[in-house]
Symmetry: C2
């Protein structure tokens, strides 16, 4: 497929992610009622194409640290890049294009879960600039510090509802992939949170698929606020103790471990010389690393931990 | 070289690291005056050989989190292990043996530097159990949060003095390797601290070298307390503000980034299914990740940062 023919599609996707960024930031600011997002426009270092817009809120009333980032980046398909993308192209360099929105929200109140979501689009081009492969990826996952089953059920249900029109076999598959992906393999596969949905390499093989998968991405992106904000509203004013906050900070340590040791997005960003501050905005504002910490069996903290160790069907 | 012939050497090294662990923990407890080390004996999971002794102190008067670990581990030289060790053995599985002491000390007072040291010994065996390669590695590095030049000079001088009898060309080389190794490549090579010495693959090619390199390791190990304790004594009672502590916690974020993204020891441990709690004892007790934080130019915080960005000769 000629490069020019996918330009309109690419541009539509770029427009969609920037609009979604605006919509989500506006809603989060309203929900917070205190802090506002700071906007950083950035460009990649010389010789590398593209840039992005990072929007960051810190020390809000509700959100202790929130990042909602868009990046639109491209470059030559070097051997290193092929390795990072796990692509076995036989000859020639070609080029790649990637555009996505990525958000991570860390909250003040330990009863409000942290949340992460990402929706992305990739293209690979041959040396002549023709599109030889293109695909979507994405997902959203919830990281509670205390287990309120109704919150987890609500979050999963909203994404199931968004995905079901595209095939009822998809939510169970993407839910399972999410459990498997956000797993600290060095801690006996303990999950960093209670999942959601995760998918990658949804191949755009023809124009019909392009339309269908774009709509699928839109459905997921548009489900985010409906999935997350009601949970925030239910929990944000719940009184909590120093011990609750400490537990949140200990669990945030697992979040850091996952992101820096295992997360493909983070490692992709770091290896492709992405903007470090935008990539690492995902790291929680305050964290505690306590040696060999185990919550008391049967405690509320332990209930959450057990849920992270034993994935279950929430919907 | 027959496996049995190196047994006495291995045993001597194991004895040395356990003695050094005792000596260092005793001295640190005395310096702390408050908390004591907790001892965890551990064994590797079934099917994997060896184990170790982790000694951890938390919430001391001086040391907020301190770990002094010994591990004595061995196993079959699988393809995965060859990849981790970066070994290109042509055929056969063989086996490997590793024994080392590793310590990381994080302090309450932000004017007292954190410190890390590690001294290790490796053997590779062919399928018949003969030693086909063996080497030492190690080093020590200082991570201050404020720049007291006399502290950094003292630390470097003590290791230079320990190393010089083995060749005056070595300290400058190992100092440079340390600067290069403990570098956050994703942050324009900003160092996590102000260095020390780092060396690896000091090949034990014959018995004379075995004796000489063992003595070299001893000289380094024995230099540690002399290099570090005087700095602790000078700084531990200095009054400090919340802002000083916050800066320490922000810099500790860089420590976490280095250890989880770049540190070969951490990644080796995680990939070889080492004991997670012992490996990750290196992570600081409290950490802050602030988006795009820059200290005020010319401030004390900035002076430290500039020193981390621009390595210099301290001795």
């Amino acid at each position: 497929m000629k490069k020019e023919e996918t330009k309109a599609f690419r541009d539509n996707w770029i427009r969609f992610v920037y609009n979604l960024q605006d919509e989500i930031c506006t809603a989060l600011e309203a929900e917070d009622g205190g802090a506002q997002f700071k906007t950083d426009n950035w460009e990649r270092a010389k010789g590398r194409g593209g840039g992005g817009v990072s929007r960051i809120m810190e020390n809000g009333a509700v959100f202790e640290k929130a990042g909602v980032n868009v990046s639109v980046v491209y470059g030559r398909l070097t051997d290193k890049m092929k390795k990072v993308l796990n692509i076995g192209l036989s000859s020639g360099e070609g080029s790649w294009f990637a555009c996505g929105i990525s958000l991570v929200l860390h909250t003040q109140n330990p009863f409000v879960p942290a949340v992460h979501a990402n929706w992305r689009y990739f293209e690979l081009h041959d040396e002549a600039g023709n599109v030889i492969d293109r695909w979507f990826g994405g997902g959203a996952d919830l990281t509670p510090y205390y287990l309120f089953e109704e919150d987890v059920v609500h979050f999963h249900t909203m994404f199931k509802d968004a995905i079901d029109p595209f095939g009822t076999e998809l939510y169970p598959l993407y839910k399972k992939q999410c459990d498997e992906y956000f797993s600290n393999t060095h801690r006996d596969n303990e999950m960093r949170g209670l999942g959601g949905v995760f998918y990658d390499h949804l191949k755009v093989s023809n124009e019909e698929e392009a339309t269908r998968l774009f709509a699928f991405q839109e459905a997921n992106g548009n489900a985010f606020l409906k999935a997350y904000l009601p949970i925030v509203q239910r929990r944000k004013n719940m009184p909590h103790t120093t011990e609750n906050k400490t537990w949140q900070e200990i669990r945030r340590g697992r979040y850091v471990e996952f992101n820096l040791l295992h997360d493909r997005g983070t490692i992709f960003g770091i290896k492709t010389k992405g903007r470090t501050e935008s990539i690492l905005m995902s790291l929680p504002p305050t964290v505690k690393f306590v040696y060999d910490y185990h919550p008391e069996p049967g405690s509320e903290e332990d209930k959450l931990l057990q849920a992270c160790k034993h994935p279950k069907e929430w919907v």
